[in-house]
C-alpha cells in the first residue's frame, strides 16, 4: 500500500527546506456523525523528521490539527543525496514511516 507520507526536501547548501503532506483523518473526537454519535478521536500524536541520526523536527499534535496535515519547515545542514526519515505515531498506536532523498 502506498505510504501516507508525501515529502519533498530540497537543499540550498546551507539549509534544507522540507514539505510534507500526510494522509490521516485527524479526528478530534469532538465531532458527531450523521447518526449523532461521536466519531472517536483518531489523530497523529507525534511526527518526527530524522537526519543523520538526529531529530531535526518533532511535532507533538492533538485533535486540533486538520485532516491530511501539511507541514513545511527548514533545518540547517542537509546535503543533496542524503536521506531524510519521516515517521508518525497516532493515538491508536498506528505508525507509518518513509524515507526521502534530499534533492
Amino acid at each position: 500500500m502506498a505510504s501516507s507520507i508525501r515529502v519533498r526536501a530540497t537543499s540550498s547548501g546551507e539549509t534544507t527546506e522540507v514539505q510534507a503532506l500526510i494522509q490521516h483523518p485527524m479526528d478530534s473526537g469532538f465531532v458527531k456523525d450523521a447518526k449523532g454519535e461521536i466519531i472517536p478521536a483518531h489523530f497523529i500524536q507525534q511526527l518526527t523528521f530524522e537526519y543523520d541520526g538526529k531529530n531535526v523536527f518533532t511535532a507533538d499534535w492533538g485533535g486540533g490539527v486538520s485532516k491530511d496535515p501539511y507541514v513545511k519547515f527548514a533545518f540547517k545542514g542537509g546535503k543533496k543525496g542524503d536521506e531524510l526519515k519521516i515517521s508518525w505515531v497516532d493515538n491508536k498506536g498506528a505508525t507509518d514511516t518513509t524515507t526521502a532523498k534530499i534533492q
Binding site: 519533498r8 503532506l21 485532516k67 501539511y70
Partner: protein, 288 residues
C-alpha cells in the same frame, strides 16, 4: 391593528411600489436571447473591473483577487491538498463495473480530456447534461447504484476528469435550438435572482463583490468560477462537487436548496460555463 392585516397591508404596499417601479422598465418582450453578446459583456465587466488580472487567472478565484492568498496557494500547489482525492478518482475511473465495462465506455475519448465540453445540451432529451449527471447515468446504465452528488466519490471522479483537461479552454456549445436557449436563459435568471432570507443572488457576491470579504473569506469573481471545479475546500476538509457548492450556498443564504442536479442547478452551471468559454480548466481546485 391585528398582525396579519398589518402584513397584508405591507405586502400590498410593497406590491404596489414594485409595480410602479417596474412600470418604468423597458419592455422585455422584444429582448432576444443572445449568449454571444452576454458572454462578451460578462468578460468585459470583469476585465474592466480588474485590469491587472490576466484573463486566464480569473479561474483561480480568490487567489486572483489577493496577492498574499495567491502566494500561499502557489506554495501549497507543490503538495496540493487534493492529491489524495485525485488519486482515488483515478483508481475509481479505471476500475471496471461488475459487468466488466468502465466509465471510458460511456464517454467520448474514453472520458480523458473531455471535461471542458460539459455541461452540454442534449437535443434528444431536451435538457442540459452535466458531467456529474453523465457519470451517474453511466453507472446506472451499467447496473451500478448512482453516487450521491454531494459526497466524496463523485467529487473524486470529477476531480480526475477535470485534471485530464487541465489547461484546455472551456468549450460549451449552445445549439440553435429554442430549448437550449431557454435553458441557458433560465440559468442566467437563476444566477441573478435573489433568494433566501438573506436576499442574495449568486451575483450579489460574485458580480457585485469579488475581491471583497464575506466574513473571513475573499469572494471569487463569477468569470471562470466553474473552471476550477470540483474543489478541495479547507472548510470541507475534502473535495466537493459543483452540486455540493450550489446546495450549500443556498442554505448559507437561508434558502432551502433544491435537489442536486435539479433543472435550475444544471442550467446555472450551463450559463456560468458558457460565459467562461475560452478560459482554461484549472480543476481540481483548492480553496480556503
Amino acid at each position: 391593528m391585528r398582525p396579519r392585516s398589518a402584513i397584508y397591508l405591507a405586502s400590498a404596499a410593497l406590491a404596489l411600489a414594485a409595480l410602479t417601479l417596474a412600470g418604468s422598465l423597458p419592455s422585455d418582450a422584444a429582448d432576444k436571447i443572445d449568449p454571444v453578446a452576454d458572454a462578451k459583456a460578462f468578460r468585459k465587466f470583469f476585465t474592466d473591473k480588474f485590469p491587472k488580472v490576466k484573463l486566464e487567472d480569473f479561474v483561480n478565484g480568490p487567489y486572483s483577487m489577493n496577492e498574499d492568498l495567491y502566494r500561499q496557494w502557489q506554495e501549497k500547489e507543490q503538495f496540493p491538498p487534493y492529491e489524495f482525492s485525485l488519486e482515488m478518482g483515478k483508481e475509481m475511473f479505471s476500475k471496471p463495473f461488475k459487468n466488466g465495462k468502465t466509465y471510458a465506455d460511456c464517454f467520448p475519448n474514453g472520458g480523458i480530456g473531455v471535461r471542458q465540453n460539459y455541461p452540454y445540451f442534449d437535443e434528444k432529451e431536451g435538457k442540459v447534461i452535466t458531467l456529474e449527471l453523465a457519470l451517474n447515468r453511466c453507472r446506472e446504465a451499467n447496473g451500478e447504484a448512482p453516487y450521491s452528488y454531494v459526497r466524496d466519490e463523485m467529487a473524486a471522479l470529477t476531480a480526475y476528469m477535470a485534471f485530464t483537461s487541465r489547461g484546455k479552454p472551456m468549450d460549451i456549445k449552445i445549439p440553435n435550438d429554442p430549448r437550449a436557449l431557454a435553458a441557458y436563459e433560465n440559468g442566467k435568471e437563476y444566477f441573478y435572482t435573489r433568494r433566501g432570507q438573506l436576499n442574495f443572488s449568486c451575483a450579489t457576491c460574485h458580480v457585485q463583490s469579488p475581491g471583497e470579504r464575506i466574513r473571513a473569506e475573499i469572494l471569487a469573481p463569477a468569470l471562470g468560477i466553474v473552471n476550477a471545479m470540483p474543489i478541495y475546500r479547507s472548510e470541507w476538509s475534502g473535495m466537493g462537487t459543483t452540486s455540493r457548492r450550489f446546495t450549500t450556498c443556498n442554505s448559507q443564504i437561508r434558502g432551502v436548496p433544491f435537489s442536486p442536479q435539479d433543472d435550475e442547478y444544471r442550467n446555472v452551471e450551463y450559463y456560468l460555463s458558457y460565459v467562461s468559454n475560452g478560459l482554461p480548466i484549472s480543476g481540481p481546485g483548492a480553496r480556503p
